[in-house]
Symmetry: C2
Subunit: 682 residues, 2 copies
């Protein structure tokens, strides 16, 4: 088709800059379609849906070489008047399907009228999700049946979809087929369908059908199914807006705190895997209902669900016994992405025909959650070498740049989530999340979740009276341990000194070791919160595992340092980079190059939910990621042992040394130990 | 690839005649594959399955220009010895995967070693079904997992299927995925899979999986779902053999005898359609169990189900309210063929992953059963003009040749099935199925189902003592009415004469009409079987509807006669062509051109079950069939009225007249009627 006949008026679209000449009387929507301008329409130009709103501009446009007269478009017509009267049309707007070309004109397509509009992520990142969801609503006019040319109602709907929307290979599940004839007749041979496009082929499936033009919106759930927490985002499939978010504890916790104990449970208890599968599916159903209620929508409007999860969660979600994941060679039953019906997972609180997409797994220990992080953070597109650490009960670690991406997982255990810590708790109001210890007075101050004041600020007691000071969460314990080290209360090997050795009465003897008194709430009936030697050991084990994994990838890459570090995960967002580096959780890097990506796995899930292209991308990305298996790698053990020190025993940390001087101290425990004794001998 | 190097030995395959030169040492299976010779193998040449058996020939073959020495193949090897010892190998047979080329050789591939072997139909037809089922068993060796190159077990199974069997795009439903890892390990990384190929694309789905080499066979059900009867054939998907057949009454009969009364039931009773759907699915499940038991197989081995049915049965099977089929324009919800999971139809007595194929419908009154008849009888490939009549509660009628095929349905009602007949019964032992009336003595003789003797043969009473003589079935009543006409006891308008008018005491007054006494079993406690005037009327209505439908198609085709007539349907197989023509059920045709196709719809179902190509064929065929709607066609009523006479009032019947002289009689009823009076006046 040619649009260069200068006898016709010139139509210029912004922001795309696409232009062409069109005969007077051509609707703007038609011109846009012919030029491939991204202008939305659900009703196909029938003046019903108002999705094709455009803003004509008048005046001189030297850049475009045109002057636009006030009558460049046909007059406001009865359809637009009616629409404006009933629904309201913003000032200056026209309906692209009603306004027709009269003369040269510049047409602006506002973002909300673009199908593939970009949705800027909330997180600190300049990347955006381009909306390209698998499921769209389409309004169609269907030919009435003719007994002399008999075809099924469904086949005529298929013809209409092909003719009016250029979609082909349409199928419908039987429950939709069952409602088809009623909908067509009630809608006087017009219907709106929710049409799902398969991302691996050009097949389409009708997920739902409504008589006439359906005003509603359709939604998707992006679910980050973690060992400890199930987090879900109810997302508008039209514009990517998160309408509601919620998280619940993974009820599988009652079968085992961490992944391996759940695998053991499945091994030891016949049918144990089925119990866990049922538990997690029920929790997802409840979460789905909760989110729909919160957003004020019907579960029927939830058309898609995307899951990211580690391999054990992946198998238990799918109903596959995870036993093979508990032993070398850690074989996944299936690693590719999966497209399923919601009913296959017994999901009951979505549209009955809803579709499920499960991101691919990278390996037996590196799951779809790591794939989602890779999708969100795109290490393979980074010019500089980036280390991405998703901290959870199991840490997923990615290292790479445009040349190569490596991945591994590391069994950090639940210490970073506040478990196995004497005063530990989950991140919730009342939990200590930030800690500072004065290097001279050795006195602490802290902040608790739910209050912006520090504990030594005036009014702190009143501000925290409601929540109380209940415990210490993951980010709090990390800061506490790092601050103890910086204040000279903790030596590089992780031993705390006595009151005598450190000169502060906050060091309380506890058996053969010492604890640091962070907060004594006993006067007001609250808890006494200390950091014990056991807490230090738990954090040392966790951070050593994390660091050893990162170091193993650096070995494989042949490097001793990384250009930048991204902390991912809900927890990662709250970690102080400096404290993480003092602790030796992560390799040395310039402090301003250690950033948080927020819940990157959740972001990856949302991207896959909102974009078919993202699904295709991650499928090819995971095939390019090289997996390093920590569980059987002797060097992992070596790195793990070396990483026990705070920060760590072998690697240099020039960036950290430039900003922090760590006291050269060494303590023994109450009963004495080799290190302490050796130091006393020197 | 070139096989013409004369330095290598020549291998000639029979019966295909394919030939080529192969290096010494080439296994015969390899040579066959390279030449495209149809030689079966499930295990891929590993000496496990024995499907590649061949028979080498020795001696001189002047036709082929070779002499084959005794040592043309490598010696019988240990694999063959072991196989013969354990399973037995027929004399002269070799395993094609073990025997290797040594010199020029002629290799015969016996029919049972051909994949695409032809299965000659039992019915009187020279056509055959070429085996090409959607589901095959494949034995594969799968690479073990390697934690350094992680891939899912399922993905490695996919690679193996691609490499070893050239199949791609393999998926598996979750229940199969769940058993995958166990099967692979139990089979020491070999498994047998039942793989289903989609007939519209090249996708494959694993329906079942077994560890190692699976010895079993897989089966399919071809189901002819009629208004009155559900007939099913359990078929071996390897060779098309019917292992068991059974039929049950359609339990929907309790909701209405014929189609329209069932549509009415759905209209008048909310949820009535669901009741009928549940009833028919339960009956199918029970039938499936019965067939599996009879054949001594597990329901799990039933991998496919094919349905043919009329449109109302079609919708009720699928769970779609048939209400639209009860009123013009008789719109089908869907007309195309359907590929479904058995679970979507709640089929519980097949493999849980079994696939269902439903043949396409032609129109709102001409269903998948008519499509199956078209597949079986192929009117569109006939050089002469063929009329195909599938007689049932609803008759499907096809008329066509290579230029054009027309179709209609006609509401004959259940009279032809023995319903609405005073002594009527279903075709079962004890039912009168053949009748002759002596034109001089007016005495009848008859045969009953289950006995080869005529009623006037010596020993008949003893031979029928067990079954008794219980009633008259559809073919019996047709013959009885035609014989009454030929014996001069019935006039062309369908009136029977009195004893006085006809000279036989077998004409018994019954109110104002007469009945003909066919059999009086009262002396031995059996029934008195008569043909009443009401029976004649019921048959007249049914045959008029049938004839009017055929005549309407002939009008549309612009012809007054047809070249041949095919009677289809279980009932059609038992109708005497001469009697049908005397009755005027079918148009006049040479008697030897009136043949039975047996249960053509059932045959069509079996063809679709055994052949993916047949599915594709019928999909394109139905699009070419032109549908004529009888329900709103005024000429149908006209033809119907004209067809009331016996044979019929308007059309000539030269072929019939050449063999049968119908007495020129006319009777009135007991109370007198115009016709009788008019005749007396002449």
């Amino acid at each position: 088709m040619s649009f260069d006949n200068p006898q016709y008026p010139l139509v210029i679209f912004t922001p795309s800059g696409k232009r062409g000449h069109f005969a007077a009387g051509t609707p703007i929507l038609t011109a846009a379609r012919q030029l491939g301008v991204d202008l939305d329409s659900v009703c196909g130009g029938r003046g019903i849906c108002s999705k094709c709103q455009i803003t004509p501009s008048y005046g001189e446009f030297p850049k475009h070489g045109v002057t636009v007269a006030e009558n460049a478009l046909t007059d406001w017509n009865s359809v637009e008047e009616r629409y404006d009267r009933i629904r309201g049309l913003p000032k200056g707007r026209r309906l692209g399907c009603q306004a027709c070309v009269q003369g040269d004109v510049v047409i602006d397509v506002p973002p909300e009228s673009q199908v593939h509009r970009q949705v800027v992520r909330k997180a600190a990142s300049d990347r955006a999700i381009v909306m390209d969801p698998a499921t769209h609503l389409y309004y169609v006019e269907v030919t009435e049946p003719d007994m002399h040319e008999p075809t099924g109602d469904f086949e005529r709907l298929g013809f209409a979809l092909r003719d009016q929307w250029n979609v082909d290979r349409v199928t419908a599940p039987l429950p939709v087929m069952r409602r088809l004839q009623g909908a067509l007749r009630k809608g006087n041979w017009t219907v709106t369908v929710a049409l799902h496009k398969g991302h691996r082929d050009d097949s389409h499936r009708i997920l739902d059908i409504w008589p006439g033009f359906h005003e509603g919106r359709i939604y998707g759930l992006a679910i980050d199914l973690g060992s400890t927490t199930i987090a879900a985002h109810l997302t508008d499939l039209r514009n990517g807006t998160v309408k509601a978010s919620a998280g619940v504890m993974n009820p599988q916790i009652r079968f085992g705190e961490d992944l391996m104990s759940r695998v053991s449970y499945a091994m030891m208890n016949p049918g144990g895997d089925v119990e866990m599968t049922t538990a997690v599916r029920e929790a997802i159903n409840a979460l789905s209902v909760e989110l729909a209620n919160e957003a004020g929508i019907e579960p029927r409007d939830i058309m898609e669900v995307v899951f990211v999860c580690n391999p054990v969660m992946h198998h238990l979600l799918l109903g596959i016994d995870p036993v093979e994941l508990g032993q070398a060679p850690f074989a996944l039953a299936t690693s590719n992405s999966l497209s399923l019906d919601a009913t296959e997972l017994n999901l009951t609180s979505t549209n009955p025909a809803a579709r499920v997409f499960v991101l691919p797994c990278i390996a037996g220990h590196v799951g779809a959650d790591a794939a989602a992080v890779a999708l969100s953070e795109q290490p393979g597109k980074s010019e500089d070498l980036v280390l991405i650490v998703d901290v959870g009960t199991n840490a997923e670690i990615l290292l790479g740049n445009t040349t190569r991406v490596l991945a591994c997982s590391s069994p950090t255990g639940p210490a970073f989530e506040g478990a196995q810590i004497s005063s530990g708790q989950r991140a919730a109001p009342g939990a200590i999340e930030r800690v500072e210890i004065d290097p001279v007075s050795k006195e602490p101050r802290f902040r608790v979740i739910g209050c912006d004041l520090w504990s030594d600020d005036p009014g702190f007691a009143a501000a925290t009276a409601t929540t109380g000071i209940t415990g210490i969460c993951g980010s709090g314990i990390i800061e506490a341990v790092a601050e103890l080290r910086m204040a000279g209360l903790l030596d590089p090997r992780g031993l705390m000194g006595s009151a005598g050795q450190t000169g502060t009465a906050r060091m309380i003897p506890e058996g053969r070791t010492h604890s640091y008194l962070l907060h004594d709430g006993s006067a007001t009936g609250g808890p006494v919160i200390t950091v014990t030697q056991g807490d230090i050991r738990a954090i040392q084990l966790a951070k050593s595992a994390l660091y050893a994994g990162a170091r193993l990838l650096m070995d494989e890459m042949g490097v001793d340092q990384v250009d930048r570090v991204t902390l991912a995960g809900a927890f990662g967002a709250h970690i102080s980079p400096k404290h993480a580096m003092v602790l030796g959780m992560i390799p040395d890097a310039p402090l301003d190059k250690v950033t948080s990506a927020g819940n990157a796995a959740g972001t990856g899930a949302r991207m896959a939910l909102c974009s078919v292209a993202a699904r295709t991308e991650i499928e090819s990305t995971v095939r390019q990621i090289h997996k390093v298996e920590t569980a059987i790698e002797p060097r992992f053990q070596e790195h793990f042992v070396n990483a026990n020190a705070i920060p760590h025993a072998t690697d240099p940390f020039p960036n950290l040394a430039a900003i922090v001087t760590l006291p050269d101290v060494s303590f023994n425990t109450g009963g004495g130990n080799d290190a302490g004794r050796r130091r006393r001998r020197t």
